[in-house]
């Protein structure tokens, strides 16, 4: 069976694309899938840091594309998961060093061996984004429940649709339920109302994500972490399971809808 290429994108920077990619990678690997994650953010690489693999980098994406290294020897194996690999970005080059065709060629080779090929797209709508989009079978759009992030996500979705890769699926990251309750943050319903995409994940704000990123230990392995468990749920949905959304308990919209259900409304 040929593997699936899933590109993680957002438009706006800083919404948690790289964190989402890393966590989905570890979640899918814990489900027993063979996974490779590719950092397409050439020049600003950090997927390796979040995955705790920065010290093991010998070759990178540009080395592979330019033929200086073999694919096999360039992939870095994760410390905890046997079937999870990383192809890091080059830090000293720029996005023009790789073309969309290069990415298609590379991922076609990887499809033979892996179940999932996750690509961490850079922010923006330029070449780096095109590189990440071109080989995609499916696109995940990460956004925060903030007006500016949603606006940029909307722009990206338009481009994904224009490239006939769309419409993509949505991950709402860093939802603060107490702020939503006070009406100070967009709710997941508000985001859906604007973007109209299927939501595959609602990730609550969670400090454990930050400490996990700094320590390089995946938050998805931490059963205490709500965000970690939410990422695991996203991974299972991507793998085709029907997983109910977590009750983020203080989400009033969700709670009210449940009450409505019980009252037969």
């Amino acid at each position: 069976m040929a593997g699936k290429v899933v590109t993680v994108s957002s438009g706006k920077g800083g919404v948690g694309k790289t964190t989402a990619t890393a966590n989905l990678g570890t979640s899918l690997a814990s489900l027993g899938k063979k996974v490779v994650v590719i950092d397409a953010d050439i020049g600003l690489r950090n997927l390796d840091v979040i995955m705790g693999l920065e010290n093991r980098i010998v070759y990178d994406l540009v080395d592979i594309v330019e033929g200086r290294s073999k694919l096999r020897q360039s992939m870095i194996k994760h410390k905890k998961f046997e079937h999870l690999y990383l192809i890091p970005a080059a830090q000293t080059r720029d996005k023009m060093s790789v073309s969309p065709e290069d990415m298609v060629k590379l991922t076609d080779e990887l499809r033979e061996e892996f179940d999932y090929i996750l690509i961490d797209s850079p922010a923006g709508i330029e070449r780096g984004f095109r590189n990440a989009l071109e080989p995609a079978d499916e696109v995940l759009i990460v956004t925060n429940p903030e007006v500016s992030a949603v606006r940029d996500a909307d722009r990206i979705i338009g481009l994904i649709e224009a490239a006939e890769k769309g419409p993509g699926k949505l991950i709402i990251n860093r939802l603060k339920t107490d702020l939503v309750e006070r009406g100070e943050m967009l709710s997941s319903d508000d985001v859906f109302d604007i973007l109209g995409l299927t939501i595959v994940g609602i990730i609550p704000e969670d400090e454990l994500v930050l400490s996990a990123s700094n320590s390089g230990v995946p938050v998805t392995l931490n059963e205490e972490s709500k965000a970690g468990q939410a990422f695991n749920n996203v991974a299972r949905r991507i793998a085709g399971e029907d997983v109910p959304f977590m009750n983020l308990n203080d989400n009033p919209g969700f709670f009210r809808r449940l009450v409505g259900l019980f009252n037969g409304k």
């Binding site: 909307d154 979705i157 338009g158 604007i194 109209g196």
Partner: protein, 230 residues
């Protein structure tokens, strides 16, 4: 009446400008320039397909047409022609081409039929856009625009005629962009960031709740009003 020197029509991805195939090139392009200058705001940023029919257009003529459009902020993205000379000129200028044999819409319009029906029934042309118009997209039409979907913040619809949004209007809409004060904007949810009809403009009042009933915006007593339909 003399044959129209130029005809401008909206398409999903820009504007189609058909130039007379028989009139003197200079007078055709002069006429085009003045037509654009009259409505410079309407045309700004549009992607243009030029239909040149059977007229052979040498490279220098096409290049001056391209420059004429670019000076006004328009992009010549495509040339339709039946002439090999014209297509070679376009290729030399790196403008994509298509052979339009059989696609000349003016030739396709049966003349008698338009003469016998009333102008409203014979129809003004328009664009039907069948999905949500997302941030960064702009639709220009020389006729009407119908969107089956939402118009999101950051998206723009500019029409010389009416605009109908079968969905939520939350972006920018300009109806009657060439000065038609009887143009209207309709939407199932009327909450545009900015709404213009002909030369009039309103920006969205900072209110919490949008108008969720179907609404029509039109000009009355020299200002834009919004009527809801329950």
């Amino acid at each position: 009446m003399q044959e129209e020197l130029i005809a401008i029509k909206g398409m999903a991805n820009g504007l189609l400008i058909s130039l007379s195939t028989t009139e003197n090139w200079q007078s055709v392009t002069d006429h085009l320039a003045s037509r654009i200058d009259e409505q410079i705001e309407f045309y700004a940023g549009a992607h243009i397909t030029v239909e040149l029919g059977a007229r052979p257009v040498p490279k220098y003529e096409l290049s001056s047409l391209k420059a004429l459009l670019e000076r006004r902020g328009l992009k010549l993205s495509r040339v339709r022609s039946e002439s090999d000379t014209t297509r070679r000129s376009a290729m030399a200028l790196q403008v994509s081409t298509e052979n339009n044999v059989g696609h000349n819409y003016r030739a396709a319009l049966p003349a008698q039929e338009t003469a016998t029906t009333n102008p409203e029934e014979s129809g003004t042309h328009g664009i039907l856009f069948r999905r949500t118009l997302r941030s960064g997209r702009t639709i220009h039409s020389d006729g009407h625009v119908l969107v089956f979907g939402d118009v999101n913040p950051g998206a723009k619809v500019i029409a010389a005629g009416d605009i109908v949004v079968w969905g939520k209007l939350r972006g920018y809409a300009h109806a009657g962009a060439k000065g038609n004060e009887s143009a209207r904007v309709c939407a199932l949810e009327m909450n545009p960031s900015q709404l213009r009809i002909a030369g009039h403009m309103v920006t969205s009042p900072p209110r919490k709740r949008s108008i969720s009933a179907p609404a029509v915006a039109l000009i009355r007593d020299n200002q834009i009003i919004v009527e809801t339909r329950e």
